[in-house]
Amino acid sequence: MTLRAIGGLIVLHLFFLGVGAGILWGLRGWQAWTEFLRLAGVAYLLGVASLMTLLTLALVIGLGFGPPLFLACGIALVAGGLVLGWRNGRPLPRLLPRGWRIPSPSLLSAVLIAAIVVYFEAFFRSERLAELYDWDAWFTWTLKAKALFYFGGMEEWVFGTAAHSGGVLTSYPPGFPAVQAASFHAMGSADVVTLNLTYWFLTLGFVAAVAGLLAPRVRAMILLPVLLLALVVPGLTGIPVPGGADRPLAYLVATAALLVVLWLDERKGWQLAAATLLLAGAFLTKREGLLLGACVLAAAFAATWGDRRGAWPRLALSGIAAFVLALPWRIWVATQAFPDEGLETGIFETLENVGRAWPSLELALRAMFGYGFWLVLPAVAVAAALLAFLAGARKPAAFALVFLGLAVAANTWITWSQTFFGLTLDYSLNPATRFMVTPVLTAAAVTPLLLERAWVAVSGRRAGLRRRGVRTALLAWAIVVFAIVAYPASMAAGYSGFRLPGGTPSFPDRDECVRAPAGFETTEIARDGCGRLRIFVDDVASFAAGEKLLSQARAAGLEPRLEASGR
């Protein structure tokens, strides 16, 4: 909750960015640093995914988790990327490409950028002091993160079968808990409150990745509205960030899917290689990652049916490589003799429940297209795919349609086969809408490209940088700067006005507890707001006696203070 904790998180996520930059340098390099800036979101997600993969491997083989291991894994990945880049003869990048000019967005684009900036400011403010309330968050993820932080390894009673009072979801991979445990180290304590800001960094990374990949290919007036819509859909904002791993999974899969879609047309090796690393990270984020990653690859196979001789071997290699990277964890789980937590019923029992099939499909379709969850986003994605298909962009359109179809089928199968899930969209009884976070964000990532293809077919004009007058450019950037300043300024002035009068932000730490005792003030032993005991010793005879008492208390490991009553 302190500035130091927030600072620690910033350093950690810059470390993810640095690691990812090393890998991206090995995979493709960049000719100018402005190009790296454009791809910083991709680099960041590559850093997260690669570190999760390597840390999981380290945990499986029994290495102790802690800052030395984390740093060593990061340095190893950067070194690998640099060696690969050196072997591929990457030239040192220039600061700016030749003829570079400051981008000048249109006024409408500037308004949309300003809206996204304000969104992130408000999102940061809402997460900074949020509590970790969700059962899934603390039971599945943060429990393991705290265990890694305190014990430095996969404790048997948390990760294994020796849980004494009921099971822990043991077959869930430790990739995301490893990120959370690294966050605790970076913050200096197991601060489960500031930990919520992890989702802010990941969301920013995802938006930056999609925007960076699509910026040279899609005009801003198509890209920005879809990005804004994806950020504000009630399925993401309607409930507080629950502390689970659905969002990290969605960001990794959606970015991998976008890279695969770009590869379908452009066939640049780095795109498929980066997608492979992101998918491996997704496999080690949640068990559903395997299912959703399979949907991505199956959609890519279907989209390249006409070019299967050229595309399929490389797609197959990508899928196998991602699976192999996640294989140590699967082997570890298989050797632990855990009860199968994923499937309540096998395939034959599922067929016996055929009566659930149709209601499950209906539920999955409502989870995908429900306006209350995702507004018009999935409908826009389907329409964009159909338009792009008609416009001749067959591969990306086929990918999008097959992927969304497979996602609905997968969600149907989950509800159908797991009879303990109710036939309802109630979040606490069935995770159908949570499962859809990944497909919907994947649709959001791919939709701008589909719309651009359809638009180009109609208008004949490709996306490109337009030069605008100095006045327009200055006004556009003034709008963005105004948005950056206006939101915190309005908060300081007390704009929100729900309960607080406004003012500068506070960064509470344990000292606030001393000022906020929770009852028992009239007794000699009081409990403070942090659950600590305050022990009062009244009527100390003299200052010298007080000093002696202080030294005794310090020797006992207490934190004593001498207060004069003023008499």
């Binding site: 909750m1 009673w157 009921g166 904002t237 707001g529 005991l533």
Partner: protein, 128 residues
């Protein structure tokens, strides 16, 4: 594209209001409110706070669910202790020096020195 823009901008105001409301609410919580969350998983915070004060960080504790708590609430409460009390470890209830009991009959736990007693038969104590 127009549909996406209209829907996104229309929803933005509501989203910002929601974020602001949450931020204000979070700011009004106490340190312990934020640590526990507001879902009531702990069942009785006072007993858990007493337990945190009594048990050193390397302590091992057991959890006993009495017949009255043979339900989801009791199990979730036990799960919450696993998470919340770290780095204190859960151990077998038969041998752990510290014990939580949800809905137990105290008479059956003669060896237990009860250190904190909450509502609905929730106890914390140590073996004599």
């Amino acid at each position: 594209m127009v549909a996406a823009a209209v829907a996104g901008i229309a929803r933005l105001d509501e989203t910002l209001g929601l974020f602001d409301w949450r931020a204000d609410r979070n700011a009004s919580l106490s340190y312990l409110d934020r640590e526990y969350g507001d879902r009531g998983w702990a069942l009785d915070r006072r007993v858990i706070e007493d337990a945190r004060l009594w048990m050193p960080p390397d302590a091992e504790y057991g959890i006993v669910l009495g017949s009255r708590w043979d339900n989801l609430d009791g199990q979730v409460a036990a799960d919450f202790l696993k998470y919340f009390l770290l780095p204190r470890k859960e151990a077998s209830a038969g041998s752990a020096p510290w014990l939580f009991c949800y809905g137990c009959d105290v008479a059956e736990l003669a060896s237990l020195e009860v250190l904190s007693r909450g509502r609905d038969g929730i106890l914390f104590g140590r073996r004599r």
